[in-house]
């Protein structure tokens, strides 16, 4: 799996929610783009993740 431009193992996770938790992301604080499409936050538990997926995981930082 590609995550934020780096190869990363999804481990045992088969859903996005499980992956985020296993990888130590706070689900409520990130927004995820899977294969170029925004994943609605309510759908994390129902969104499958596989080895070919490309994820972008973003969060807010300070900015002007």
């Amino acid at each position: 799996m590609q995550v934020n431009g780096e190869p990363m193992s999804r481990g045992q996770a088969t859903t996005l929610a499980a992956f985020l938790e296993a990888a130590d992301f706070v689900a409520a604080r990130v927004v995820v783009e899977r294969n170029g499409a925004i994943v609605p936050r309510a759908a994390y538990a129902d969104t499958p993740v596989g080895d070919d997926d490309v994820l972008e995981i973003l969060f807010f930082v300070g900015g002007g």
Partner: protein
Amino acid sequence: MSLPTVADDAFELGGKTFRSRFILGSGKFSLDLMQTVVAHAGTEIVTLALRRANVGGPGNILDHIPAGLTLLPNTSGARNADEAIRIARLARELTGGNFVKLEVIPDAKYLLPDNAETIRAIEVLAREGFVALPYMQPDLVAARAMRDAGAAAIMPLAAPIGSNRGLTTRDMIAILIAEIDLPIIVDAGIGRPSEACEAMEMGCAAVMANTAVATAGNVALMAEAFAAAVAAGRLAARAGLGRRLTSGAEASSPLTGFLRN
């Protein structure tokens, strides 16, 4: 006759009403300071940037911003309209709100915005229900196009981002204030409270600052100084500036002496 008060001077933007006209940028200072700075700034709108998340690291900024504030994500990093649109949509998913400060910056040296691409982004985002607040190079024709595309306000730069150089585009901003019936919010380049005050005296609806506060000796004190300056400038604009005597000479013979009956 009763004087108008600060309380009845609400500022409306994107269907929300604000009392503070000072928009605070959250970059370049430590998260631990956030609550104190926000309190001193009296701000109701805070800008944010979207970045790739890293695992672990310091706490999340959203945990440090008091509830009730309006989050204004920017699209920094976008070099064209499509990237700005993408970032805006991602940010909306995260904030649940529809405000976005559009920054389209294809120039790495001066960080100056691309007005044409910004207009293109507004056209798309306004249709999707965004309250689009475009950061822009102060240009009347571009501002009109942004208005027509559905912008909720116009955010001209006073000087390049982060430069603290003050109101270098003063005359162009004055033209936007005179000609565009949208809030004009000065964004970027303001270095001192006195400059924020002057922008408000000129008739700007609000002022946004970040670097000037973040790089001050005492961040919280400077935030408060900006808030006071913005409020003073707003009062002056509402009061109507007094006359300034010029040293022009009076015509020696009357110009209207030719009139009959």
